[in-house]
């Protein structure tokens, strides 16, 4: 209670003297990479006790700004001031940033899964050679309970859910007296309940005076939890806004630098075409090592989707269709003919393409060039003894780089150095190049910017309408699926619990089906 009073006082001080309240100030930051100006004279201000969303499309400069702040990249010019430090702060390494109280929790959690929660919180922080594990464990438990994190200090980290792992990473940062906490896409692999848990923790930390930089692609989440928004576009500062001053539509417009005509376009193409009667793919009692037996079919030119909470089995089901996991049973018919699909190669030969959920782990071949990544699947289908000529591959790559507007310095750029959205487009190009009859897209829009998301949705609608491609589209954003799919398969606890079409395709009935009857 006392804390609360002090906080209230602080808050009053804030309004009287806003200058004192600034915990971090970045002035005129510029950073150039070969070929691109990643940041151009960008200002960013973070105040004590606020959640500040950093927004922008892919390539807007969000990650670069954060990497400059945390000392991963040296800045070309500009100054950084941190509360409590006289003059300019010198940050040349993540360690120095840490010492100044700037902590980052990344999208991919960089903790050690096979150590305990306490070990993860204290690793690399002991002063001498001796580590006081006993007292550390006690301290860890104190912090965990203080922050309301549902984990035990002696628990192995890999036994915690992703959300809790993320919270442990945050707890570690908090215990290191951080003044600035950077959360880079913290919610992208969490389900709704876990997101709420994380938001609770974020609000709590805000109330304790921590300045939080929140980087995310989820617009709703920004409005739910943030106090202020800074928008970047093409490496330049667009502006800083109070959340109440910037409606969601305006935010999107600022991020994209244009009106939402694109959204209107989408509605236009979005005349969902009624699929023909011809069934392209049909599975009966299909099961794999990771999924329970299920029935499924898709018609020519149809777009359907699997929906359900994280862990409901939606990804596992499509992996079974593609033969990505070990198929354990069931019969499959492609265009009426019985086929056996037990490995990806067989699925590809049957005319199925699959864009995996985890782009980094299962999708890109990071060191290979954009060109090689684009032609990979087609090349494999042509066979080991039929390599395409260099010229042919260059033409294909060129065609798809243009068609999908992939931003890359050249065809020969390693795909790993592209931004997330462009990497995703490369994998999409890879499968489009094989001209599949049936394309499975698992979370094609995850972790990429609004503009590219719209592009991909439009493309999906176009492929179905103009090329009669059958598409399974999975997204954790239900709106996206409602916009594109004409049939939704709802999963809960690894079982199909419903199928929605026509008028049932609205948010409330999807929610109800996901949640289950009577609850």
């Amino acid at each position: 209670m006392e804390n609360r009073v002090v906080r209230a006082k602080d808050l009053m001080n804030v309004s009287q003297d806003p200058q004192n309240n600034v915990v971090l100030s970045m002035r005129g930051i510029s950073k150039t990479f070969p070929g691109t100006k990643a940041l151009n004279n960008v200002n960013f201000t973070l105040r004590k006790g606020e959640i500040h969303a950093l927004m922008g499309e892919n390539g807007a400069g969000k990650s670069t700004l954060i990497k400059v702040l945390t000392g991963v990249y040296p800045k070309d010019s500009g100054q950084i001031f941190v509360d409590g430090i006289e003059g300019e702060a010198s940050i040349h390494s993540p360690q120095e940033a840490q010492n100044l109280g700037i902590s980052t929790v990344y999208q991919e959690i960089n903790l050690c899964p096979n150590l305990t929660v306490a070990e993860n919180m204290f690793i690399g922080r002991s002063k001498g050679a001796r580590v006081q594990w006993k007292s550390n464990e006690k301290r860890a438990n104190e912090i965990l309970s203080n922050l309301g994190i549902p984990a035990q200090a002696d628990q192995e980290l890999s036994h915690c859910s992703l959300a809790v792992q993320q919270m442990v990473a945050i707890a570690r940062a908090v215990d290191m007296q951080c003044k600035v906490l950077i959360l880079d896409e913290p919610t992208s692999s969490l389900d709704d309940k876990e997101v709420q848990m994380l938001f609770g923790l974020m609000r709590d930390l805000r109330d304790r005076g921590v300045g939080i930089i929140f980087v995310t692609h989820f617009l709703e989440q920004v409005y739910e939890v943030s106090d202020r928004i800074t928008v970047l576009r093409n490496g330049e500062l667009v502006g800083e806004y109070l959340i109440s001053d910037l409606p969601q539509v305006e935010l999107v417009a600022r991020m994209m630098g244009k009106d939402l005509n694109d959204l209107a376009d989408l509605e236009e193409i979005g005349q969902k075409k009624t699929a023909s009667e011809a069934v392209v793919y049909e599975a009966e009692n299909l099961s794999s090592s990771d999924s329970r037996p299920f029935n499924f079919m898709i018609r020519e030119g149809e777009i359907n989707g699997f929906t359900g909470l994280l862990g409901s089995g939606r990804s596992e089901s499509v992996r079974a269709i593609f033969g990505a996991d070990r198929v354990t049973g069931g019969t499959v018919k492609v265009k009426g003919k019985a086929v056996s699909i037990t490995k990806p190669h067989e699925a590809m030969k049957a005319g199925i393409g699959y864009l995996p959920e985890d782009r980094k782990r299962d999708g890109i071949i990071s060191d290979l060039s954009v060109r090689e990544n684009i032609i990979l699947a087609l090349q494999v289908m042509k066979g080991f003894f039929h390599p395409m000529s260099r010229k042919e591959t260059e033409q294909f790559a060129d065609e798809y780089i243009k068609a999908l507007k992939i931003k890359t310095a050249s065809q020969e750029t390693p795909v790993g150095s592209l931004s997330g959205g462009n990497q995703q487009k490369v994998i999409l190009a890879r499968w489009l190049l094989t001209h599949p009859d049936y394309l499975i897209l698992d979370e094609p829009t995850r972790g990429i910017d609004v503009g590219t998301k719209l592009e991909i949705q439009k493309l999906v609608l176009k492929l179905a309408a103009e090329e009669n491609m059958s598409i399974t589209f999975i997204s954790s954003e239900i709106e996206e699926m409602l916009r594109t799919c004409s049939r939704l398969i709802v999963m809960r606890d690894r079982n199909i619990v419903g199928e929605l079409t026509g008028d049932e395709l609205n948010q409330s009935s999807v929610m109800k089906t996901i949640a289950g009857g009577g609850q």
């Binding site: 070969p34 782990r361 494999v380 020969e412």
Partner: protein, 364 residues
């Protein structure tokens, strides 16, 4: 179009910068040393008449390239295994001894005094077949049982020479025959040592394989991201096994060269400790020992660098016992210069110079 080619060339070169620089420095060092001591004999190439009465080229440079042949061939196979599996086969020396034993055993069966092209070919194919069985044993442990390559190949590393002993017994058969000399030394009428041609032949065969198959793309893909490779229809297990098969062929060929050069088979010393030099050649060649992208030309350069280094030290009358220590020092420098940390700095520096010179040119 022209711009595209120039980009491609630039990338090719950037991967070879370290081996080329190392080679350049070694040559420069010998040149300066030659000028200082007033004897440029290191670079001189002369002709001499050998024991068989053939006129052959002689000189340090020739013997460096000649001596490096077995190493270069094994290192090529090692490059593929490294790229696909992200690890190295340390049993190549021991398996090479087995291969040599099989080769000589077959020759012996036909009669060591009646060696013919036919018996050599049969011996070589038998050796290749047996060697592939052994490298496939390694390959299976690596690809099917997913054992770390160095651990998996430790088995044959330890027992390979015993197996070779079991094949030939304790004798060290002598092979004094014109045909054997033609393989290990020179063919009458051709002044260049035959092993050099065999390196070129092996490199051409691999280049041809890369041309008519997708082996390079598949190997790199598997080495970089095995899971993604599978989801794109590539069978990583097959690709890894294939790299071990190719290594087996390389080891057999190298083993035959070495047996013919020395005119004898000794299961103890044949290709002794070649595994470490082969791994080194891969590393000096700018290939990642963690798998993925690779360049065979870099590896071959790496093999020549290693031999040139040994030869230079010999030439400086460093005692054979202490050569390894000096070699180690130079190799540390090369490997550090080729490490990702230093490489980044060098490329950045290179780019700055490059853009600088471009500006100067634009100014004109």
């Amino acid at each position: 179009m022209r711009q595209k080619t120039s980009i491609r060339r630039k990338q090719d070169l950037s991967q070879l910068i370290i081996p080329l620089a190392a080679l350049g420095i070694l040559v420069l060092f010998n040149l300066i040393r030659g000028i200082v001591i007033g004897d440029l004999g290191f670079f001189s190439i002369t002709t001499r008449v050998n024991n068989d009465g053939n006129t052959v080229l002689a000189g340090n440079l020739i013997s460096i390239i000649d001596d490096a042949s077995a190493l270069a061939i094994i290192a090529m196979g090692m490059t593929l295994v490294t790229a696909a599996c992200g690890g190295q086969d340390i049993s190549v020396g021991a398996v090479g001894a087995i291969s040599g034993a099989v080769f000589v055993k077959v020759l012996d069966a036909f009669g060591l005094d009646k060696i013919s092209v036919g018996s050599i070919l049969i011996g070589l194919f038998a050796a290749i077949a047996v060697t592939i069985v052994f490298t496939l044993f390694n390959g299976t442990l690596v690809s099917v049982f997913k054992i770390q390559p160095m651990i998996a190949t430790l088995i044959l590393f330890s027992c390979g020479r015993s197996i070779a002993y079991m094949i030939t017994g304790s004798a060290t058969p002598q092979l004094n025959d014109k045909l054997i000399n033609a393989i290990g030394k020179t063919i009458p009428g051709i002044p260049i040592p035959t092993p050099i041609f065999l390196v070129v032949l092996m490199a051409l065969i691999l280049a041809l394989i890369f041309k008519v198959t997708n082996l390079r793309l598949y190997t790199q893909t598997v080495g970089i991201n095995q899971g993604a490779a599978r989801l794109n229809g590539i069978n990583p297990m097959v690709i890894k096994l294939l790299s071990f098969v190719i290594l087996g062929v390389c080891v057999s060929l190298a083993s035959m060269i070495q047996v013919c050069r020395l005119n004898q088979l000794s299961h103890k010393t044949l290709l002794d400790a070649i595994e470490m030099d082969a791994i080194l050649a891969v590393a000096i060649g700018g290939n990642s020992l963690g798998g993925g992208k690779f360049r065979l030309s870099g590896t071959i350069l790496g093999a020549y660098i290693i031999l040139m280094l040994t030869n230079t030290l010999n030439d400086m009358s460093v005692k054979p016992e202490s050569i390894k220590a000096y070699k180690a020092i130079v190799i540390i420098i090369i490997v550090i210069a080729g490490s990702p940390a230093v490489k980044q700095k060098i490329t950045a520096f290179w780019k700055r110079i490059h853009s600088g010179s471009r500006k100067v040119m634009a100014g004109r």
